[in-house]
Symmetry: C2
Subunit: 334 residues, 2 copies
Amino acid sequence: MSSIRDVARLAGVSVATVSRALSMPEKVSNESLEKVHAAIAQVGYKPNMLARNFRSARSYAVVVLVPDIANPFYSLFIRALEDRAQQKGYAVLLGDTRGTPERELEYIRRVETRLADGIIQLRPSSEKSQNNIPSDIPCVNACGCEYTTGPAIRIDNRAAAKTMVDYLISLGHRRIGVISGLKDNPHTVDRLEGYKDAIRNAGIEYDRDLIAEGDFTMWSGLNAAFQFCNMKNRPTAVFSMNDEMAIGAMQTLKAQGIRIPDDMSVTGFDDIAYAKYCDPSLTTISQPAEEMGKMAMDMLLRIIEGEPLSQTECVLPTEFIIRKSTSPVKVVAQ
Amino acid sequence: MSSIRDVARLAGVSVATVSRALSMPEKVSNESLEKVHAAIAQVGYKPNMLARNFRSARSYAVVVLVPDIANPFYSLFIRALEDRAQQKGYAVLLGDTRGTPERELEYIRRVETRLADGIIQLRPSSEKSQNNIPSDIPCVNACGCEYTTGPAIRIDNRAAAKTMVDYLISLGHRRIGVISGLKDNPHTVDRLEGYKDAIRNAGIEYDRDLIAEGDFTMWSGLNAAFQFCNMKNRPTAVFSMNDEMAIGAMQTLKAQGIRIPDDMSVTGFDDIAYAKYCDPSLTTISQPAEEMGKMAMDMLLRIIEGEPLSQTECVLPTEFIIRKSTSPVKVVAQ
DNA sequence: CTGCGTAATGTAATCGGTTACAGGTAAATT
DNA sequence: AATTTACCTGTAACCGATTACATTACGCAG
């Protein structure tokens, strides 16, 4: 309730002196400093940041656009983002878009009306799947893909997927099913390329029937797996494009009496906390979410504060983690 | 970049008319309205919400204090909170405290300096485990306990726990282990009371050795379960105070060759998405997180806007969900 | 003693909206 | 015709900080 003027009056100095005492104390005499601090303590003064932000035309907040916060993969990101933002004195405005462009626009408007200084985009985007973010607003894609435009932090999805499928091939698998995300999702596109790279290398023909489309939820993985159960010529391994779908798929497969990994190997992607604790534990690709979040936030704040960027895209390494859900193919079949 | 004065000049009206055209168009003639809208379109005017908020001494943002956003139980809450806030024109400032009071204070300061209008507290609190939030700042506990002070939305943890343990007893279990949260956590206290209520009713003596302390993480559940494996007189059922610890515990038990539910029944609490998909699927208590989040946000906004509260505490019903992790005790023992 | 540099402080403008208050005009009432 | 009323509009104060610029005091060199 008390303003800087109340403090000034009580301390017997001017408002300018109070302001300086707080933001550049070295410019103020010790005598004044003491009087000011005493007055502040006496009236319980708390600076009104709304006024400060208004004056400086900055909100010191950034929007984090996330398709679904309940997705465990995104929560790791968000935690890292929030951590870094907090360190640098910025607040994180949570923008759960639920995958709809309308909500995304709502948050973009927040930046245009000065309620936020920039955007971290967690939805992957490429030229095709446009993000409707005007080019003049600071934005970093923390979860980019091969063809993401603008500043981005990403992993090499294609290479990581290839690594995984190469591994399955090295275990003797030749019929390898895929549980993909939605067809036009850039992650799906990149990872599918990696899959194709691997099988082409191994001289395996691409079979469209081996691709089951999901949407990165556990439920969709559970459903997608049925496609493989009922096949006459069942795949011996399944490459799922994320862990949640893999876990859902394992549920279906086990329920159908298919043993994992003995009858079928299953792999995931992301290495969410759960991948280690499901049964069997999941062979997967670990993304450095912590690191990616920090770098994305650093990059965004640098753009906001007008500092030059050393690089506009950053590709971080992934880790390939072998657990219990994969095994060599059984040679004695049927 | 363009301000309301630019628009006024171009439209040939006063700034007051422009302001009114935007916030109370019914008070402005059609002629003026048209001129104003034309001018707005021409210069691409976007109101500066920082100025508006500054003037109205409101930030239209609320802090959501969450111990750990990566905890799947909290993410459900947050999604509901964000949803409702967005509907009402408020932003959600994410406050991941990582369980530390320092970070909590940091966010409380945000409210004191006007960067947020109120707080949703997800950490349960009671008189004993104080939340250091000054009483003059609007705050609602969205995840309260029996002795939570101040406005709160909660479930009846004690009764829910009793229901669960009653069920285990009805299946013939007499030695029922507990995996609890940290001892002084209010949820732990409430749920332990429920456990005690149930066994007392059934004439079972309370055995301190049957209580293994965890901290609500999967990892802690995994460790706590060892306590039961090595017991001479093993419990036939384990009541875990949340799903994550239950899932961790099942991992340990299965690794030790203990079959679930044949050799030991395991139950959880919360009904996170994963509870349905783990192996075996988990018998648990479902909290209406969606509903609780919405109600908590509504209550907070009502307090912020100075409307009267019909009630200061709201206890919502839980749902008891029986799945595959529980079964009648085997009478032919050893 | 004058002039100049430095340090500390104060005065007042400023940011971009909102809104109290004061006109001004035209229709309705007396 | 005079007065009231309703409606629309404009002027300017205001919110609480920051900060450019002016002012004052003081020490020191010339």
